[in-house]
């Protein structure tokens, strides 16, 4: 099927894009990488009357160190993030997550901001940004505001963005040197959507105990799900296998997945537990200096 007709514009500046978005209102959609939107348009599940193409706004394509973290422009291609040395140094969890998005060809066009604004419940980047405690910057007619990742994803394919707002940047805070990280995911075939994915970050203190832990899952709810009880069970503890197993057991109680054509709720719940354990184990190994 072919997309329904629409009027097209390709602004060269963010200001121009914002003006168009405000003028065209609810019948306008922003086009970033198009790897999620255009399939929907081709299937006529989305029929915007106006398409505002952001791909000529080169000013939104950047990755820069900031404080001890990095800032990533919304139009940064996923492939650029994947190969970014600054990102590998400062936010390796984000790099590990983005490598799992689709295939390389998809990542040549797909953008960081587009994936976040699309907010697919099975997507990797939303989950990684929540785990990292990132801030998402939105620009609208009344100026900029900063939205914590944890409050950005409000439902399936739904975010806290106002209709006239454009996501412009992701701010990833630095984590302490030696932070262990892991993003692991179960899929039926490589490159497919995650059935369940887990992002884990672990910080060890001088005595080898866990001083900070972040554990967030995708594919188990309508948004990324933070496993708070599991996280809390780890803080201040020596990271033994038994501790990790217990944390993983808690995870399965904290998720309420739905059944769908890809996997049953029960299967997702079981996989969440197994993958949470794998993610924590790998993150811990890296925190201890392993690979």
């Amino acid at each position: 099927m072919k997309p329904a007709p629409f009027a097209y514009s390709a602004p060269r500046s963010l200001e121009e894009a914002l003006a168009l978005l405000e003028a065209q209102g609810a019948e306008a959609k922003l086009l970033a990488g198009g790897q999620s939107l255009v399939p929907l348009m081709n299937l006529r599940l989305a029929k915007p009357r106006y398409l505002i193409d952001l791909n000529r706004i080169t000013a939104l394509d950047y990755i820069r160190p900031a404080d001890s973290g990095i800032v990533v422009g919304a139009m940064t291609r996923q492939a650029t993030l994947e190969h970014s040395n600054a990102a590998k140094q400062t936010a390796p969890l984000l790099v590990e997550a983005v490598k799992l998005v689709g295939h390389a060809t998809i990542r040549h066009r797909g953008t960081v901001g587009g994936s976040l604004a699309h907010a697919d419940p099975a997507a990797e980047l939303p989950t990684a940004t929540v785990a990292l405690g990132a801030e998402l910057i939105a620009r609208g007619p009344r100026g900029s505001r900063s939205i914590p990742a944890e409050r950005f994803f409000t439902g399936p394919l739904t975010t806290a963005l106002e209709p006239a707002e454009i996501l412009t940047e992701v701010r990833v805070p630095g984590w302490p040197a030696g932070t262990g990280y892991a993003f692991v995911e179960l899929w039926r075939t490589h490159g497919n959507f995650a059935i369940v994915g887990v992002a884990a970050l672990v910080v060890l203190d001088g005595g080898g105990r866990i001083s900070r832990a972040s554990l967030v899952l995708c594919g188990v709810g309508s948004t990324p799900v933070r496993a708070r009880q599991a996280e809390a069970s780890l803080i201040g503890q020596a990271p033994t296998d038994a501790r990790l197993q217990e944390a993983a057991r808690l995870v399965s109680g904290e998720v309420s997945p739905d059944s769908d054509v890809h996997a049953s709720a029960e299967y997702r719940r079981r996989v969440a537990r197994v993958y949470a354990q794998r993610a924590l184990t790998l993150a811990l190994k890296r925190a201890r200096g392993g690979k």
Binding site: G34, Q35, L43, I106, R109
Partner: protein, 168 residues
């Protein structure tokens, strides 16, 4: 509702000027407006890889890009692989190793492999498998495609103009 947009695109080194509806997909532009029918449409939602072309030197799904977005861009399609009537080593290898049956996925496979070998001239079998993971084939079971890519890689590394064969 929408007027036509003028675009200038270079495809396989040849410049073209056309006017297109905004909703015209790049793959349909290539096939219908430019009569370059080597690029195929398999799924129209980015999954199968049959529509893969190179856009500004990188593989993309041409079913997920509008022709208007290609204004000013350089594109390479499968028709751009052969030079002066000579097959690219990848094409030779797909022929020699029987890396195609119906040929529907083949243009996408060739261009994915072309980019992959450009960036990874000495890949392992596992790396090749992963590289073509976004290109679906219903006929071959992939094994001969992988062998073709391995053979092409070897031919390109040793700068032999053709894959060794008894065919000529």
């Amino acid at each position: 509702m929408a007027g036509l947009h003028p675009i200038r695109v270079t495809v396989n080194g040849t410049p073209y000027e056309r006017s297109v509806e905004p909703r015209r997909l790049l793959v349909d532009f290539l096939r219908e407006d430019l009569c370059l029918v080597g690029t195929h449409i398999g799924c129209e939602h980015g999954v199968c890889g049959a529509c893969t072309v190179l856009f500004a030197g990188q593989t993309i799904r041409s079913c997920l890009v509008f022709a208007v977005q290609a204004d000013g861009a350089e594109i390479m399609t499968v028709e751009g692989l052969a030079r002066d009537g000579e097959f690219h080593p990848l094409q030779e290898a797909f022929w020699e190793k029987h890396g195609l049956q119906c040929g529907y996925c083949t243009p996408g496979m060739l261009l994915t492999a072309y980019e992959f070998l450009r960036d990874h001239p000495s890949p392992s079998e596992e790396e090749i498998r992963e590289a073509i993971g976004g290109n679906l084939c219903r006929c071959t079971g992939y094994q001969f495609i992988i062998e073709a890519i391995q053979a092409a890689a070897e031919a390109m590394r040793t700068s032999r103009p053709q894959v060794p064969s008894g065919r000529r």
